[in-house]
């Protein structure tokens, strides 16, 4: 029952957003901890604003593999925000620690 209620709420929110042409989606967030982006795959609707927060002491970046977007080095607790206007799969990595990789899927 609880599940159903939240589904209805999500559906309503979607309708409201479409109707008003206001910022379409809720802000989504990715945390960086222990040299890992979480979640590794984030799925958001078109127009979503994604904010990354670095919880590590070491600096990290959010760098698109295609060069579509990129941050400077984020120090501890610094954030970076990117809006995704078009659908697609956006892979990114940390330019300082390229073994760190993750993806934003925009639908």
């Amino acid at each position: 029952m609880l599940k159903l209620t939240s589904l209805v709420a999500v559906a309503l929110a979607g309708i409201l957003a479409t109707a008003s042409h206001a910022p379409a989606a809720r802000p989504a967030s990715v945390g960086i901890k222990d040299f890992t982006y979480g979640p590794a795959v984030l799925t958001v609707p078109v127009g979503a604003q994604v904010t990354w927060t670095n919880h590590d002491e070491e600096s990290h970046t959010i760098t698109s593999t295609t060069g579509a977007f990129g941050s400077a080095g984020l120090s501890h607790d610094e954030t970076f925000t990117q809006t995704f206007a078009r659908p697609g799969t956006y892979a990114y990595f940390c330019a300082l620690h390229p073994q760190m990789r993750a993806t934003v899927v925009v639908r």
Partner: protein, 307 residues
């Protein structure tokens, strides 16, 4: 200590703040604690130089509240050495994430080192934002094609500075690239086998811990150009701790950072800065002093800490 293996000894030495001379004969490492008397030995024709690494100016965090201050302390220590070093090798990560003004701060501080000259190679922190533009504008002069790599001779030894952070993508390893490797093969081509070779670069030229990107993917090709030499000393930074390996006539050495220590390979969930009390952290950051004595191979490498 219950266990006194080589790493244990290294850690122990670091934590007590002692300086250790490493010598290798026939591939076997031995060490001794440096005493003032030992440090004062200065045979004719000998010289020493200093390796400073991973100064990370601009870093601020629990692991080090002031990376500029710890660099200054290291410089004071270098200036107080009983034998004046000939030059400094800075093995990269001068800045922390190319923070605004950090290159200027490092340049200003290093002017205070009492040596003739400082040679540089970049770390990934120095080049990742702009592909090395600012770094090469500052330090590219006199390097091969302005690309940052270089070689020079000093009192019979051949020094080679390599750049392995400009292709720092893909799987997270350092890489030298074809052009640099071809240049290297030519650069050492005319040298006699007995010429002592010192190679310096930021990311280790051996597989310290690939899972954390602590390796250079094409290092083996670089080493292939140097296997015929009787003495090759490889000095790297990047991993903020002292590790050594001997492979035939090649001695690999990584230096401490002047800013903050990083965990031993695989000993932590990630290679992030180690948060330890300041007084203890000072025993895990420092500087490397390398002595060259003609006719006595290999080079003696001394790591000393701030603590």
């Amino acid at each position: 200590m219950d266990r006194m293996d080589r790493r244990g000894f290294l850690q122990c030495a670091a934590w007590t703040g002692a300086a250790v001379v490493w010598t290798a004969a026939g591939g076997v490492l031995s060490s001794r604690v440096v005493t003032p008397a030992a440090a004062a030995e200065a045979p004719a024709g000998a010289f020493s130089f200093v390796q400073i690494s991973d100064t990370h100016v601009g870093f601020k965090g629990q692991a080090n509240a002031d990376a500029t201050a710890t660099l200054q302390q290291v410089i004071d220590r270098v200036n107080a050495l009983p034998t004046r070093p000939a030059f400094v090798l800075h093995t990269g990560d001068q800045t922390h994430g190319q923070k605004a003004g950090a290159f200027d701060t490092v340049a200003e501080l290093l002017k205070g080192v009492k040596v003739e000259r400082t040679f540089y190679v970049p770390g990934e922190h120095d080049v990742f934002l702009d592909g090395g533009k600012e770094y090469l504008e500052r330090y590219g002069k006199g390097t091969v094609g302005g690309r940052g790599w270089q070689s020079f001779d000093y009192k019979g030894a051949h020094f080679i500075g390599l750049v392995n952070v400009l292709k720092y993508k893909g799987e997270g390893m350092g890489a030298l690239g074809d052009e640099q490797l071809e240049w290297l093969a030519k650069d050492v081509g005319a040298l006699g086998n007995s010429t002592p070779i010192v190679v310096f670069s930021h990311v280790p030229l051996w597989a310290v811990y690939p899972a954390w990107g602590w390796t250079t993917e094409d290092a083996e090709r670089a080493l292939g150009s140097m296997r015929r030499f009787g003495s090759v000393t490889v000095l790297n930074g990047h991993i903020h701790q002292v590790l050594q390996k001997v492979e035939g006539t090649v001695t690999f050495h990584t230096a401490m950072s002047t800013a903050f220590p990083q965990p031993a390979p695989g000993s932590a969930p990630s290679p992030g800065p180690m948060k330890i009390p300041e007084a203890e952290a000072r025993r895990m950051i420092g500087v490397t002093d390398v002595a060259y004595v003609p006719g006595r191979q290999p080079l003696a490498i001394v790591d000393s800490t701030l603590g």
